[in-house]
């Protein structure tokens, strides 16, 4: 039943994304228009996929670091991706894929660094160190990024700054296909870890007593969630709050078990980001807002509400 509602809402959101836009198309021309097929549809689908990936990555990482206020970008990935992207812009790397690839490499580099830090305590990943290491690596990367931006020329600076806030203006069917080919593996790893993730909420030792192989679980979930986030940031920039707020909303509505939480977080994250992107490209048309600004404006009040609820209970 919940999936019928969610899939219905997803289709409605995608339909709305096709209908509205700065080029005011008459309804009759809609299905023949290249604007719809080559611009609006791939863009809406990509936003949906990225939102879904961020929702799933956020839900899994919150269970992994056992901190309900964790966000996929908290683990240093946004900093690394931002650094890679801004470096690509500053170095004038050519080609349409230079920027996403540089961002992806930056994110994976940050991930590797944080992972290494998380292993410092011994053979097992320590989630607390993952969190602290993520914040530290992210802050370092942000400092280098800001240094690069401050040395850049004005137009480059604007591009870099806008990229950091996220957006889907570069979306194409090729990008959609790349994500469709890439995402199933990490998504599959996370879905297969759904039940052990339920157990991990009890603590590492209790989870082991209920049958979870905690060491492999932590490694698999960290790598899969980070690789999902890295791909999302590479194609869309840093889009905050989707990975933080969506899992909480889904937990409130459909419960905390990951067998339900992960699929509902995927659909809800997709709906939210597709809707936010539609807003981002229409409210200030013909100009575009970075979609990260829309999600932050929507997400911060929700987050504040959740935080209050959390501290009260």
């Amino acid at each position: 039943m919940k999936y019928v509602v969610l899939v219905g809402a997803a289709l409605a959101t995608l339909a709305a994304a096709l209908l509205v836009g700065p080029a005011n198309l008459p309804l009759a021309d809609l299905f023949g228009s290249p604007i719809v097929w080559q611009l609006r549809l791939p863009r809406a689908v990509l936003a949906f996929l990225v939102g879904g990936a961020l929702g799933v990555a956020g839900a899994s990482l919150q269970a992994l670091v056992r901190n309900p206020l964790a966000d996929p970008f908290l683990l240093g990935l946004s900093g690394g991706a931002g650094l890679g992207a801004v470096a690509a812009i500053a170095l004038h790397l050519p080609g349409p894929w230079a920027l996403p690839l540089a961002a992806f490499i930056g994110a994976v580099g940050a991930m590797a660094l944080v992972y290494r830090l998380g292993l410092m305590g011994g053979a097992e990943l320590d989630p607390r160190i993952l969190l602290l290491g993520g914040v530290a690596v992210g802050a370092f990367a942000a400092a280098v990024t800001t240094a690069l931006v401050s040395l850049a020329e004005a137009t480059e600076l604007r591009n870099a700054f806008l990229w950091l806030w996220g957006g889907f203006s570069g979306a194409s069917w090729t990008t959609v296909l790349v994500i469709l080919a890439y995402a199933p593996l990490p998504l599959g790893v996370l879905v297969a870890a759904a039940r052990p993730l339920d157990l991990l909420a009890l603590g590492e030792e209790p989870a082991q007593y209920l049958g979870a192989d905690v060491r492999r679980l932590k490694q698999g979930v960290y790598l899969a969630a980070s690789l999902l986030t890295a791909a999302a940031v590479a194609v869309a920039g840093v889009i905050g709050f989707v990975g933080l707020v969506v899992p909480h909303v889904c937990r409130l509505v459909w419960g905390r078990l990951h067998r339900t939480l992960l699929p509902t977080a995927f659909l809800t994250g997709g709906i939210l980001l597709a809707a936010a992107d539609t807003l981002a490209r229409t409210v200030a048309a013909p100009r575009e807002l970075p979609v990260g600004i829309v999600t932050a404006l929507l997400g911060v009040p929700v987050f504040a509400f959740l935080l209050r609820r959390w501290t009260v209970s």
Binding site: A63, R66, P68, G122, A192, R195, P196, D198, L199, A201, L202, G203, E205, P206, Q208, Y209, L210, G211, A212, D213, V214, R251, G255, R256, L257, R259, S313
Partner: protein
């Protein structure tokens, strides 16, 4: 009657990395089906290490720890969770949860990767709820329970695993008298009715000697005494282990320990 040997420790010695000394030294223990074992000893005497070694979380540097004849470290966590149910001393409740959901977690080691809870799994959950007398609480949120109810729910979760052995690490710490007695009675009843083995770490010497079949006393990682309560709890042993003068008096055939006042000599 020869009861099934579930857990066997044979001269187990354990040492944590970088620790200055062994946490456990040459400890032996055998838990069979239908036996209730209590482990006593002061803080830091190695009780929790004993449990970790028995469950394969800490590898012994000498000796062997075996469950159903296989080395404890050779079981996968999932296989072991179908045979041994554990109540660890502490656990978190990161996200809000209802009682029936919590007890259902005990079925996880029995579920396949993609399959859901079947009729047999649901029946096992209901049986566990009934056995621990928490059926009425099934739809309550965990945070609304009293300490005693919460421990019974956790015991129900362990029972839902359908184990042969229950391991309980100080399950009655911070419970009041009534809930503490209820929990000891419950564990005793489960051992007698279902033929489970039970291994309980506790600080309650007098309840341990009244409910358990066998008692193991640890001090500084060594087994000071092992056997029936009457054999183990003597004044000499208790004085030494607990570093306090005591008197031992019998009650219903079991020894009970009374700590003595320290007499102050008048000047």
């Amino acid at each position: 009657m020869d009861r099934e040997l579930i857990l066997a420790l044979r001269g187990v010695t354990c040492r944590y990395p970088d620790a200055p000394r062994d946490s456990l030294v040459g400890v032996s223990l055998e838990v069979r089906a239908g036996e209730f074992h209590a482990v006593l000893g002061p803080n830091g005497s190695g009780k929790t290490t004993l449990v970790r070694a028995a469950l394969g979380l800490v590898g012994p540097v000498a000796g062997r720890a075996e469950i159903l004849g296989r080395p404890a470290g050779g079981w996968s966590r999932r296989e072991l969770a179908r045979v041994v149910g554990v109540l660890p001393q502490r656990e978190d409740n990161l996200f809000p949860q209802r009682v029936r959901e919590t007890v259902s977690l005990g079925r996880y080691p029995h579920l396949s990767l993609l399959g859901g809870m079947g009729a047999a799994d649901r029946a096992a959950v209901e049986r566990a709820l009934v056995a621990c007398d928490v059926t009425d609480l099934a739809d309550r949120w965990l945070w609304t329970l009293s300490g005693g109810e919460y421990q019974r729910v956790r015991l129900a979760r362990a029972l839902a695993q359908e184990p042969k052995l229950l391991v309980l690490d100080e399950p009655t710490a911070s419970l009041d008298l009534r809930h503490e007695m209820q929990l000891f009675e419950l564990v005793r009843a489960l051992v007698d009715a279902h033929g489970l083995g039970a291994l309980m770490i506790t600080h309650h010497v007098n309840l341990a000697t009244r409910f358990a079949d066998q008692v193991l006393i640890l001090a500084d990682g060594r087994a000071v005494a092992r056997g029936t309560p009457a054999d183990v709890l003597t004044r000499e042993t208790a004085d030494r282990v607990f570093a306090w003068p005591v008197s031992i008096v019998p009650f219903e055939g079991r020894p009970q320990m009374i700590p003595l006042r320290q007499r102050k000599e008048a000047p």
